[in-house]
Amino acid sequence: MDNAALQGGFIDPARDAARAFRAGMEAMACPGTIQTLNGCVAPAPMSVAAATLLATLCDAETPLHLAGTCDTDMVRDWVRFHLGAPLVGRSDAMFAVGDWDALSPLDAYAVGTPDYPDRSATLIVEVVALTNEGATLTGPGIAQTAKLSLPGGLLAARVVRYPLGIDFYFTCGDRIAALPRTTKGAH
């Protein structure tokens, strides 16, 4: 394994991961808000926020799918050393990371079952810009409305047969936002 893949883990795992978990949770609990998330560095082109989120949430029991440019030997080695997460195809993935084009279309990802709606995939979409402009969001965790820049076509592609569905994170540099399946969006 390339020594470079061994770098970039949490320096103080207990505290750093707890902070990171709080940021990820806030993003999902208050959809549309943009949180700062850092602590880990993964090989390019993965963002700091995506790397840190994966390091916080993934382990040997959370199959991970790397899509598009995120799927490199260096990234795979980094995942194997720091996360221990099995690397799988779309349909077996609990988490998937990549840019929107590489992750689309959404058909193959797990949406959960009526008995276990949580057995669905969480998609971490790497975006070039993340701002509070664009789509209008409403729903649980949002006071009236929130605005968030979303990749084109995502809202249309996202089929929500509540409680089944897919939850999304959006990462850019060291910033993160989320779109849970309970949030309604409109352009």
Partner: protein, 362 residues
Amino acid sequence: MYVAVKGGERAIDNAHAWLAEERRGDPAVPELSTAQIREQMTLTVNRVMAEGSLYDPDLAALAIKQARGDLIEAIFLIRAYRTTLPRFGSSLPVDTGAMACDRRISATFKDLPGGQVLGPTFDYTHRLLDFMLAADGDVPVAPKMPVDPAPVPHVMSFLNSEGLIAQETCDGTPAPDLTRAPLELPAARALRLQALTRGDEGFVLGMAYSTQRGYARNHAFVGELRIGSVPVEMEIPELGFSIEIGEITLTECETVNQFTGSKTEPAQFTRGYGLVFGQTERKAISMALVDRALRWEELGEDDQGAPAQDAEFVLYHCDNIQATGFLEHIKLPHYVDFQSELELVRKLRRDAGAVDRQEAAE
């Protein structure tokens, strides 16, 4: 309707303080150390490791001290501690054929490669209380003899020349894990073996005994019993190869049972298998007998309705932590439940009384 709860915190703190005092016992008596428990109560440590499902003698010794010797309480502590450990992965399946045997016996074949090695066993003691042990005496030195470097193969492997013993084949199915997914029926043999090895020794022993007494008519022979240490190996992704990450003591029991044949299978001997952490002989043999009983369906035998053949009965009741958890919960306040029961009984009495008076009037 709410029941007032006050003063509980102080009572609990005081209870814990008294518990600590009781645990210590007479201060004039030297305190027990975890090292003493680990070294001198090894078989207790083994049981706690096996049923706690965590191989760590120091932790088990500490749990036993903290639990004041209540082993199920100690197992509870180990199970809880286990959940705080991140899991690095799974080992490669251990090779018990390469075991450095402390003990190795067969009840089916007298002369076998590697011989009958008794090991540090209680089997030939006279079961008379030894009062010399109460007064710390000298420990005799265990004699040594030259070591035969020849390998000690499994009895089952070399005695299949006539093809009379069923072979255990591997089809590569990954091992299911009941610590990660709820145990659902029907349970594959691998899942049953996991449940049995961590199951309560007394329960598994009772089930095994029942098979010998006719509940599933299991006439088992101990084909081989071996106890000793085996290395544990694991693939390390950052290295790109597997390494030994430690060594553990295991007890392995292979039983041989008769099977009269079916439409598809010729008459042959079938097998039961027990494998347990530590020197835990009784449990390993019990496990093998119950394993064999639960295999009735895949071996094409009849369901005689014996408890040991009932996977649901065996697997759902063998875990002593699940059992004690539900059992002991009835100590918790059930005041409201009981109030409603009381009201119901009083009402039934009143209604019955009214009917009696009515009948008497007529």
